[in-house]
Amino acid sequence: MEAIREWQAYAYFFLTVFLVVMLYGYILHLYRAEKKGTRDYEKYGKLALDDELTDAPVELNEARENEKNENKEQS
């Protein structure tokens, strides 16, 4: 019983520390990437606004398009 409890406490502590580090690292990464201009996250906010079927996607899902083309070729 004691062994389990000890294991439990260690697992809890280290996982929490690990996740906190991850989270803060991630915040840093987000803002750095945007500052350097490698990524623009805020453009995804448009997803809710331009949501007509006729609106151009922010990024096309290529997997779908490839599949479609294959189907066309078959038929």
């Binding site: 019983m1 389990i4 409890r5 294991w7 439990q8 697992a11 809890y12 996982l15 991630y26 990464h29 990524r39 996250y41 990024e59």
Partner: protein, 221 residues
């Protein structure tokens, strides 16, 4: 990293699942064995008590009554010694409740009698003026389901090794034996009651819900 996940629904789902499952694993699993050990001398419910417990559940008594005395002086003064984990070892499901619209019942068997319960369930304000509890008159005419209670007792005996029929523990026996015992227990309770219909029903070999419920409540220590 997370952005990568947002474009890959499968890995996204896996990620979410890992993060939410983590808490349950750490919190719940390790204490399971510890918390399921009964305190010394704790007895599994008799058949009649178990049938009464089903009545308690059917009418959701736990919507207004807790069965958990917290370790404060104001609670132990009012309801008796505070609850400990091992007392609940045979409670499937637990009936701690989450709201005290009425008082706690964990040790109600210590300070209420058959007679009191009979009056109270028939007309709560007759014993507690100002009570807002509903009357449960239908319990005096409907019969408790002894067979389902027996099925449950047998199930927990077989599947979870609840110590029915072990030396020094509650006797369950075969369905016929158990039914006979329950009826005897019911007769003792009916003898202390005054409702003639209930007395007649028990004499006929039936067990009204109220009798089973009182057996259960009297057994709460």
């Amino acid at each position: 990293m997370f952005h990568w996940l947002e474009q890959r629904p499968f890995f996204f789902a896996v990620g979410v699942f890992l993060v939410i499952a983590f808490a349950g694993l750490i919190e719940i699993v390790p204490d399971f064995a510890q918390a399921s050990r009964p305190i010394a001398g704790k007895q599994p419910y008799t058949l009649l008590q178990l049938a009464g417990r089903h009545v308690y559940i059917k009418d959701s008594c736990n919507a207004c009554h807790s069965q958990l005395i917290r370790p404060f002086k104001s609670e132990t003064d009012r309801y008796g010694p505070y609850s400990v984990s091992g007392e609940y070892a045979y409670d499937r499901p637990f009936l701690w409740g989450s709201k005290r619209t009425g008082p706690d019942l964990h040790r109600v068997g210590e300070y209420r009698t058959t007679d009191w319960h009979e009056n109270h369930m028939w007309e709560p304000t007759s014993v507690v003026p100002g009570s807002i509890m509903p009357a449960y008159k239908h319990m005096f005419t409907q019969n408790a389901d002894l067979e389902t209670a027996y099925a449950e007792a047998l199930t927990v005996k077989k599947v979870f090794n609840v110590p029915y029929d072990k030396p020094g523990f509650t006797k369950l026996g075969s369905w016929e034996e158990a039914k006979k015992q329950a009826l005897e227990d019911a007769k003792k309770i009916a003898a202390e009651m005054k409702n003639q219909d209930v007395k007649d029903a028990v004499a006929r070999g039936e067990i009204p819900e109220i009798v089973a419920l009182i057996a259960y409540l009297n057994g709460l220590h």
